[in-house]
Symmetry: C2
């Protein structure tokens, strides 16, 4: 298990090129996930679609990037996290969340959760609320993932159901003590908070040794 946080720096132009290319591809895979959830086409059509998906997978896998290093954006110094399951531009599992960092350290994101994130009928799965808030609190605690920080503990209080549809998440650092950073955040719909989160994020020992 490598714990190497090696980075390849990419220029703004290359960043924009890849974003314009892979963003729409991933959006298409998201729509395919939704279509697969509810389709009732006949069995032969399902099997034919599956064969075609397998052929596309083989084509895309015919040339793959090495996954041993993370891309870092030259202009901002931030890792791209394009494979991340919460924010990844290239990960169809992610909504994705686009994270905004304010000068005072607060982070926020506005995004839409479709039926693919549903738990009880009409409501977001409680574990998806946890994924969203764990990620956003981690962004706040790690100054936009520029500092290596791992979740130590996180506690979530579900105030009411979170409806599918447009949502906003916010997080900020309350205080730091030694290797621990205490963060707090909220998931909100148009009527206010639906879930509140408190987390403690920890700088790992190997990063402490490195200074």
């Amino acid at each position: 298990m490598s714990m190497d946080f090696g980075f390849d720096v990419i220029s703004d132009a290359e960043y924009e090129r890849q974003r314009a290319l892979y963003g729409p591809l991933t959006e298409s895979v998201r729509r395919l996930i939704d279509a697969g959830l509810h389709t009732e086409v006949d069995e032969d059509t399902v099997r034919d679609a599956q064969d075609k998906i397998d052929a596309l997978t083989a084509l895309l896998e015919s040339k793959k990037r090495a996954v041993t290093s993370t891309l870092r954006h030259e202009a901002t110094g931030r890792p791209l996290a394009w494979a991340n399951p919460a924010v990844g531009l290239r990960n169809a599992i992610a909504p994705p969340m686009i994270i905004h960092h304010e000068d005072d350290g607060q982070c926020w994101s506005e995004f839409t959760l479709s039926g693919a994130y549903e738990g009880p009928p009409g409501w977001v799965h409680g574990g998806i609320c946890a994924l969203v808030l764990d990620h956003l609190l981690g962004e706040a605690a790690s100054e936009g993932l520029t500092q290596p920080k791992f979740t130590g503990t996180i506690s979530l209080r579900y105030l009411r159901g979170t409806p599918l549809g447009p949502l906003r998440a916010e997080a900020f650092v309350e205080r730091s003590e030694g290797v621990k950073t205490f963060a707090r955040g909220y998931l909100k719909d148009a009527d206010g908070p639906t879930v509140e989160a408190e987390g403690v994020f920890i700088r790992p020992a190997w990063a402490r040794d490195a200074g």
Copy 2:
């Protein structure tokens, strides 16, 4: 926003037919998600793949099931939760987890988390650990989703990093007090627990009124 937990009961034969048809389709979409994460094929090939994905989405969407009711398995009485983002056989976002229910109420699942669930390099995203444990504790608290229960609070303690690969999750009910059910669970790798979770699950008011 419907809060109707209406169910369509399906027979064991129909359950098996749909499982055999849609399980492999969803597995193929999961492999496509992974392929899309890391592909470096040339731009024309990416755009051509995207067009073909869009065509498959349109085909699968040409006939869709109504999403106003949930399927319930006749033999077990349990809802299928095939669209669920943690356990859904038809949801490519889900690993999926297959949940085993013991006679004493304990639940467990063994599953594999691939690179699509990665946070820090080599490790499962903390929010994905939270998704997995929120779901499993909810299964234990709701007796296999046969009782309507919502997450009230959940607290997660990250003991160490959770490696990508084969994992096991376990959950059980510690006690119940009125409308509250207290559950506990663990995420484990081959060396033991990596994350511990405690949750309080609440029977909603509308279900209390219904008896």
